[in-house]
Symmetry: D2
Subunit: 254 residues, 4 copies
């Protein structure tokens, strides 16, 4: 039986590409995303046509019980989850405090912090019994510094990072590897950046900074590092790592 890699937040960017990478390496990948059944099916088909193995679920992570049921279903019907990628973002663009409704602020937390808590609460008891497992967490620069207009996002991501540390402190000695991955740059991803900018602006950005310039982070290339982290020997685990394009300023430089 193939080990299972569960992707929570499997759009056409990091999530989908990490899913493909693990599938290529012999994992059965379970792709979960909130909407776009068609896109999801296409991704599953692509993986299967390449000879690898995948399933897809629509999952509304905000809904009570959704993540918990998904984990239970996958464990029951597919197999033991060995790797989880928590890849839900909560970037809503820059908004002044006045424009940030209590609801928007709460939504950021619910997706990006509480969602991770629920994933860990669902999967870690199972991994703990098996004495091993990996949780890869996509994070953002907002986890380490709060910029103007990022009230909801930064508060959610700051909480996410600290939660990764408390999870690591409790579960690393039990054989569960938690890696917090700071994505410090724009990703060449049509489902997130593309939607935020709109198709035209996104295409322009790709032409000016992306494509042969490599100024946008290529999710297929990022996936190599995600995969590597899950293969690290337990005597040499990484808990925190950052990533950005060579041509981008690091967040601490300006």
């Amino acid at each position: 039986m193939k080990p299972v890699c569960l992707i929570i937040g499997a759009g056409a960017g990091i999530g989908g590409n990490v899913g493909k990478r693990f599938a290529q390496a012999g994992y059965h990948t379970v792709l979960c995303r909130r909407s776009n059944k068609e896109g999801l099916d296409t991704m599953v088909q692509e993986i299967e046509q390449s000879g690898a193995s995948a399933s897809g679920f629509l999952l509304n992570a905000i809904e009570p019980g959704s993540i918990e049921n998904c984990v239970a279903t996958v464990e029951a019907d597919i197999g033991p989850i060995e790797v989880v990628l928590f890849n839900l973002g909560a970037q809503i663009g820059d908004r002044s405090l006045k424009e940030t409704s209590p609801k928007a602020f709460e939504m950021g937390w619910r997706l990006a912090t509480f969602g991770l808590f629920r994933v860990a609460s669902s999967v870690f008891p199972l991994m703990e019994e098996r004495g091993k497992g990996t949780l890869l967490v996509t994070s953002a620069t907002a986890a380490v510094r709060g910029n103007r207009g990022q009230h909801s996002h930064a508060a959610a991501m700051g909480g996410r990072r600290m939660l990764c540390q408390t999870l690591n402190a409790e579960f690393a000695p039990k054989g569960i590897h938690v890696a917090h991955i700071i994505v410090d740059g724009a990703v060449d991803a049509p489902d997130t950046l593309g939607k935020m900018l709109g198709p035209e602006k996104f295409q322009k950005l790709r032409e000016s900074r992306g494509l042969e310039h490599d100024g946008l982070m290529l999710p297929a290339k990022m996936a190599e590092t995600y995969f590597h982290l899950a293969q690290q020997h337990r005597s040499a685990w990484t808990h925190e790592i950052d990533m950005r394009s060579f041509s981008d300023l690091a967040w601490w430089n300006h």
Copy 2:
């Protein structure tokens, strides 16, 4: 008319002592706490008997509208709020992930992160109109590192710190000073540490580390630094500061 200093979380530790310090300096201090009307009244009386000026409110910060109403009432009945101390803690002691219910996890956020968001959303538009104001935020080591068993607390405090940064980024140029104060040690406070440990253990700790040893942080002494921060000239504002007893290891040392 005296400038107003609003204390959210005015127990017998940091909150009460900061309140007294501002009152001594000529502010009208408004003390808000969740319970113990008697303790609250005593604090107000003590301040008034010393010739200074104070009011007290019971405030259940978790309740929708509570903080918002409190701010509106103070502004209408007492005067313009010049300084706010956000002093709500969310430490519930060390709990494993299994012992951390979703409700407890959410409660930490609701008090420690969302509460701050609500305070800022209520007060900052008023301060912005007046072109000045100060928000002092008591924070904890858990805001910068997540220890074992601190899932709820660290996630909440990590969010709090990032929120302070986003608030500062938007409002400092408008004359509003946000200071994030990392309290990196045990405070000699009967209402928080005292309650967590119980009276006997607390007394023992005071005798072994506190009192003439100064190994517990004295809230009346800490209040001097809180007060100083609110007096800094706008050309020289502090955004982040830490505090601990001389005999305590800093959180990064071990």
Copy 3:
């Protein structure tokens, strides 16, 4: 006998103003700087004319034995040093790696890191015997992030910050307070910024950002915080603090 405050790096900016502040409060201030005997004498006279007490020394900190002799002389001839401000900068402007000679790189370390080590090695044994003392260390953003062109400065300041932490870990329990003060912005100081920019550019900057705009940090105002740090009760010491103008972006925002 007045307590002594020793200022190493006493130009017309932070150093001189901190010196004045301590003198006003009843310390005998010893001002040390590398050159400009006239400027030094004027500062000493100003302090004395205000009824306070000061001395001045020319001190070439880079020279072997210079700091050590200065400390010994002050202790022998003036009195026990209670507070030291280490205020030597090592900013040489932005230079590419190619333009940074090994000598320039070493000079940065020698002044900014090794100088601090020598000060602590000279003064701490004396303070330790007396069971108390304070070391205030002016630091820079370069201590927490390395920007382009800052090879020498950032390496020196990064070393300085870590040294402050090791000093604090060893000496705080012995009653010696080490405070690392991150000055995160341009200071309205003719001897440093003024010299780096030249008189015309400096005056323009003062007119556009400084003066009534308060966009340059006013050293006389900063001195209040330096002074406060030295007065903190030992149960509530600050080890790290940052400062910047209200209108400046924090280093982590861009």
Copy 4:
């Protein structure tokens, strides 16, 4: 012609193992260490007997010109250096300030900070012309926090980290990848930990925490991550990463 991987600090721990890993992958590895010609020759032979390719040099990095000559010789006689591992440590064990001589303090900087500056100054102009290159820098927890007794080591490592950031800021856009690798734990390395502890204590530690417990970091396993970093696509470079054994507390937890 094979690409060249230059290892500065090639003992039997991280340095040697990273060297082997690159050799296995088709690089010609150049191993440099200060002493033990026999050990060095053995390592070179082992690599060659496995069908891979290596050379060895004795290099006293502290000596003026030594690093510079080594780089020039390798470029002239072997080939263009594509990857450099800077792996010189400067840990001298815990020493109080009194026990830390100015010479010992300076030696730490000379090896760990200035050595890196010299390596970059020698190699980067060549890499810049070729538009690519990788500098892997082994670092330590002391780069991010200064513990008691670590005056020399922490000051040197704090400088090293900031220097990595300034190098990255200048050279990443030119295609040169700098990775700062925080080794946050004890490495199962006879040449460093083994020598510091002595053979008996080292063996005991290996039995109690190392070997099948994996509580000491295995350099052969760490080498996988070093190698991965050098293979990252330029759209997804890591600048900072930490590593520790699963059973070890992270430096921020205690």
